[in-house]
């Protein structure tokens, strides 16, 4: 057991199962020294929604980039240096005054890791996964994102093949802002589609 297991309390059943997996997989040579610490550090500090915010801000200030982003999301996102697991087939969907997009994974927890990091817990929970498909307008309102009745809601179910990212509308009154300042306005939730800016 590593120092991560240095608890005064006895291990719970799931902690025991994870410890058994760690021992087995380490014994089989599948877990390089330091691998778990490194990947945890990366997802807790490097790979997160600021990456997506930079993509969105670039699209807001550079029409050519925006066109490339909507045509081939994976390639345009790679232009900014972002890619990797769960980001192989990125499709970016654009919000407009008439259309609001939102992403979900009905079967598990597929999510665009390179631009948003790992998903928040509610994204992985059964109520969100079921209700965002069945009653998106009601659920969005409950989540603090009420939409006018004439706005069409498009729900995108992530899959093994495709990961989606929402391109939010640029807020009014931001004409004088720099790209970096704009990136600071973009929230994770707006790129999932459960918030508007």
């Amino acid at each position: 057991m590593s120092e991560r297991g240095h608890h005064p309390a006895p291990l719970s059943p799931v902690e025991r199962r994870v410890a058994a997996l760690e021992a087995l997989l380490t014994e089989r040579g599948l877990v390089p020294e330091g691998f778990i610490e490194e990947i945890t550090r990366r997802y807790e500090s490097e790979i997160g929604p600021l990456n997506g915010a930079k993509v969105v801000a670039r699209a807001w200030v550079d029409p050519g980039y925006k066109e490339r982003l909507l045509t081939d999301g994976t390639a345009a996102i790679a232009e900014l240096g972002f890619g990797g697991p769960e980001g192989d087939h990125m499709v970016v969907v654009e919000n407009t005054p008439a259309v609001h997009n939102v992403i979900v994974c009905t079967l598990c927890s597929c999510y665009p890791w390179p631009v948003l990091g790992l998903p928040p817990s509610w994204y992985k929970d059964p109520p969100y996964r079921a209700r965002m498909v069945r009653e998106p307008r009601t659920l969005l309102a409950e989540m603090g994102c009420p939409l006018p009745g004439d706005v069409e809601i498009r729900v995108w179910d992530s899959s093994a093949e495709v990961r989606y990212l929402v391109l939010p509308q640029r807020p009014a009154g931001t004409a004088g802002m720099t790209e970096a300042e704009l990136a600071g306005l973009v929230t994770r939730d707006s790129m999932i589609g459960v918030a508007r800016l």
């Binding site: 991560r4 410890a19 918030a195």
Partner: protein, 85 residues
């Protein structure tokens, strides 16, 4: 919500990280799955994803990282026995 630039209460990604795990065993089992995908499946995530879909469908109310653990256990079952040196 539409009030211009009034974004308090939203989760601003100014800092690129957030605590994504609630307990050490969760980050451990996340990292273990990544290690198995990389080192036993040549980076192909699909076999693990299929196990995760099955694990979640089997017990929809189970906490997410426990389903993740069950999925990894099932995936490990599919690995060939360690070759004899």
């Amino acid at each position: 919500m539409s009030t211009q630039l009034s974004l308090s209460g939203l989760d601003l990604p100014r800092r690129n990280g957030e605590l994504v795990f609630d307990a050490p065993w969760q980050s451990t089992v996340f990292g273990l799955a990544a290690a198995v995908i990389d080192n036993a499946f040549c980076g192909d995530r699909e076999p693990f994803r299929q196990q995760l879909v099955k694990a979640i469908a089997a017990e929809p109310g189970r906490p997410y990282w426990e389903s993740w653990t069950a999925a990894l256990e099932a995936l490990v079952e599919t690995l060939p026995e360690r070759p004899v040196p």
